[in-house]
Symmetry: C2
Subunit: 136 residues, 2 copies
DNA sequence: TACACAATGTTATAATATAACAATATTTAA
DNA sequence: TTAAATATTGTTATATTATAACATTGTGTA
């Protein structure tokens, strides 16, 4: 097997990374760091830093995304996400349900968007707010 | 003068709201809450809560916006913003310069965007990341 | 084996934000 | 104009989110 510089790619998760990712995937909604911590203490994770370090790596790998407006983390719902660079979510302001949007139209539009100086951006985060079906 | 229910609209700012807004407007870059606090202590504002309360109101009024990925606040650069509901920024990952994007094409696209369930969102926040001209 | 590097464990602390309560000012409406 | 309603302020304490610093252990590879 060719390894080269892939030491840190998708296939290999460390122990703490697995524990944290499992926890986030079990929840179908975003989890906050200290809520993760509380829920994984029986697995031997004792300190915030252990959680934050795992979160950082998982975000880098694109396994999870941070919902910036909520300081919370959600599992990637696009199986294709290898890297966290272009994300879009809808957030219900009533029940806080968060859904990852995967619209190729939207991602193409944003990936090709140029600002006034002609600058393009390959990395973005978009959060839509509103009321979900149930809450309307 | 007709007042009705306009008690809290653009024209009237309270003392602390003015102080905080002035400070943010003087800075041409986003300011963090505790940096604002430090800089307005000579004006009589002593506690974090005084700053956060002013920030909340100013955000509601659309006078300032929160840069969620940075936990920082920037003065609205679109004179037209009356309400903080649809914002877009570019953020330089090197020097942290933030610019509010005002593109009618972008805002129209996002305002008319529908997700898979046909849901539209009148409120959103978009943050683009990259390198600004100087940093490239 | 030994080197490099990633991951872990641990304590302490920094940075961001809100709760709770009392008081004062301002606006609205009878 | 006065009383009620509402917005704002002041203040102390505390909750929540996140990182610094340092020592140690594991893992893959030269």
């Amino acid at each position: 097997m060719v390894k080269s510089n892939m030491s840190q790619k998708q296939e290999h998760l460390s122990k703490n990374q697995k524990i944290v990712l499992d926890m986030i995937e079990k929840s179908n909604q975003p989890m906050k760091a200290y809520s993760i911590l509380f829920n994984v203490q029986k697995k031997g994770i004792k300190a915030p830093l252990q959680v934050y370090r795992a979160l950082d790596k998982l975000v880098e790998m694109g396994k999870i995304h941070k919902i910036e407006s909520r300081n919370a983390f959600i599992a990637c719902q696009n199986s294709s996400c290898q890297v966290a660079k272009a994300t879009a979510f809808s957030i219900c302001e009533m029940c806080e349900k968060v859904t990852e949007i995967s619209s190729s139209g939207l991602s193409k539009y944003l990936a090709s968007f140029k600002d006034k100086d002609g600058m393009k951006y390959s990395k973005y985060n978009l959060e839509f707010f509103g009321l979900c079906k149930k809450c309307r």
